[in-house]
């Protein structure tokens, strides 16, 4: 009943969001239920953060949106993914890219046996216009050190690979970038740099970003809105400021407060119980 209520929610008074995910259920290999009725909205021009612990289904959510779920034997069995007013679930991933959704996958996934330049040119694979060259220059403006790297991309450092992966996303001129853990394996300084660039991209190019992160603190510092998910469902959402000051979020994701209660295993049970919001 609650799900039906979610599904037939009257249209909001404001403009419809760029992307809306309505009550989706995702199953891997026909048996493993990963998302159990997840809904979220990404308004145009905003950065939305999707937070949660390992195995909560954050990456699966992104793959459900980008269609890459298909390559991993996953399937959306219920619910809708709507992008710019059109239903996009079930469409081949390459067609979704053409519609303007580009996923920067977890672990960068740059093409190791190609050069930086070739990787960037591949980012523009779906484009047919002749502004690719000027866009490459623009990526080099964002990431000057990529210009100096002429060797194979596989030999780049982790930070440079992340920059290349983001650069590749810029090259496809997407309307929405799905970013899966851009901070993975980076030093705190580089994390700061990468996130300032994400913020800058959002401001300069007006590109909407859905950000999946483990590092809740830094994600909430750039995001406008945030969702927190657990075991395949959204358990809490709100503006980034609101989430950053929420006592539970502080305790479970930002590592602040609540320290006294957790000194021994005796209190672990109550900790677990408290963790469930819904």
């Amino acid at each position: 009943m609650a799900e039906a209520a979610l599904k037939f929610e009257p249209a909001a008074e404001t403009a419809p969001p760029l992307l809306s995910v309505d009550n989706i259920e995702v199953v891997y290999n026909d048996v493993i239920l990963v998302l159990r009725g997840l809904s979220l909205k990404v308004p145009k021009g905003q950065i939305v953060a999707l937070l949660g612990s390992n195995g909560a289904g954050k990456s699966t959510t992104l793959k459900a949106i980008s269609g890459l779920l298909k390559t991993e034997d996953g399937e959306i069995t219920r619910g809708d993914v709507t992008f710019m007013g059109e239903r996009i679930n079930g469409i081949e991933p390459d067609r979704i890219v053409r519609r303007g959704i580009f996923q920067v996958m977890e672990g960068r996934r740059i093409i190791a046996d190609m050069t930086c330049l070739e990787n960037l040119r591949l980012g523009a694979f779906t484009r047919r216009d002749n502004e690719v060259k000027s866009d490459i220059e623009r990526v080099y403006e964002y990431f000057p050190r990529l210009k100096e790297r002429t060797g194979l991309a596989g030999y780049l450092s982790g930070g440079e690979q992340q920059m290349l992966a983001i650069g590749r996303a810029i090259m496809s001129r997407p309307k929405l970038i799905l970013m899966d853990e851009p901070s993975m394996g980076l030093s705190p300084l580089l994390v700061k740099e990468v996130f300032s660039i994400i913020k800058k991209l959002n401001q300069d190019l007006g590109v909407t970003i859905l950000l999946v992160e483990q590092n809740a603190r830094v994600a909430l510092s750039v995001a406008d809105y945030g969702y927190i998910m657990e075991q395949g469902k959204i358990v809490l959402d709100g503006s980034a400021e609101m989430l950053a000051t929420n006592e539970d979020v502080k305790e479970f994701y930002l590592g602040q407060g609540g320290g006294d209660e957790r000194k021994s295993f005796k209190n672990l049970k109550s900790f677990k119980r408290r963790k469930r919001w819904l």
Binding site: V97, M105, F125
Partner: protein
């Protein structure tokens, strides 16, 4: 006189070797893009050669146009084979897919025999002279053409993979299909394209060999000869295929020289590539230029 013979055999070996190299590249193209070991590669040569022969003899089309039409036809043919036969098999075990290509090979050979008969048919004379004399060596005009065409194809492949949009997409697909799809590349189209290019380029080789030896189902044996060349160079290296092709071409002819002069066994020409294959695989199991992590089949 003997050094003359040796030189002649070396030249022949290099010329045949470039042809092996070209067909080897086609083989590697399919393997890299779609991880399918295509045992029907030799039949692409056969079908291409028969098509060209048929256009030339039945329709009296000038060689240039007949050649061009045959190559274009094979491009479409390759794409069709991929779409009709292999696309439904995506995701099936690799051994099933390989068995299907063996089945295709048998089917096409039988089909060609049924359509054109079992006897070798000579091409109508295409060049004013069959052989030309270069520095005292007799070289088939068709082979001269084939060397020119082969080198052009190799240069074309190098350009295609380095600079063209689709070539980059193919390399991306070879690297990871998931990554390729995340970049907006249609993996299905890349598969189809790789089969199309592979069939078309194989047809070029088929026509050249057909001009020299006549067209018959013996042509598909070329596809089996290419196998040691490709394994030698490394199953996933386009450059390795070319080097492997040259090595096999040279080995065959040098084997023939040693055989005819000293050993008198009478069959070294045919089997020496396979001896070399065994020895090289013992020393370098992944081929000369192959990467380590590829599957053996």
């Amino acid at each position: 006189m003997q050094s003359q013979l040796l030189l002649q055999l070396i030249i022949n070996g290099l010329i045949i070797g470039t042809l092996y190299g070209v067909v080897g590249m086609c083989f590697v193209l399919i393997y890299k893009a779609s991880q399918v070991v295509n045992f029907a590669q030799g039949e692409f040569l056969l079908i291409g050669a028969w098509t060209c022969w048929w256009l030339l003899t039945a329709w009296n089309i000038p060689f240039f146009w007949g050649f061009l039409i045959a190559v274009c036809f094979m491009m479409v043919f390759g794409i069709a084979v991929q779409m009709i036969v292999l696309r439904p098999l995506i995701g099936e075990p690799i051994i099933s897919v390989i068995m299907v290509t063996i089945g295709l090979s048998i089917f096409f050979q039988a089909l060609m025999k049924w359509m054109f008969g079992t006897f070798a048919q000579p091409f109508p004379p295409i060049f004013p002279v069959a052989q030309v004399n270069i520095l005292g060596l007799q070289v088939q005009t068709a082979y001269l053409m084939s060397t020119g065409v082969s080198l052009a194809i190799m240069a074309g492949f190098a350009w295609f993979f380095k600079y063209s949009r689709l070539g980059l997409a193919m390399r991306a697909t070879a690297f990871s299909q998931q990554v390729a799809q995340s970049l907006g590349i249609s993996v299905r189209q890349v598969f189809a394209l790789s089969w199309g290019i592979s069939a078309a380029v194989s047809a070029v080789a088929g026509v050249v060999v057909g001009i020299v030896n006549g067209v018959s189902s013996a042509l598909s044996y070329f596809g089996i000869k290419v196998f040691p060349a490709v394994i030698l160079g490394g199953l996933d290296s386009v450059f390795g295929a070319v080097v492997g092709g040259l090595i096999v071409g040279l080995l065959e002819n040098l084997g023939q020289y040693v055989d005819s002069q000293y050993l008198k066994w009478g069959n070294l020409y045919e089997i020496i590539p396979f001896y070399a294959l065994i020895i090289i695989l013992m020393i370098k199991p992944y081929g000369l230029f192959g990467t380590r992590d590829i599957e053996r089949v």
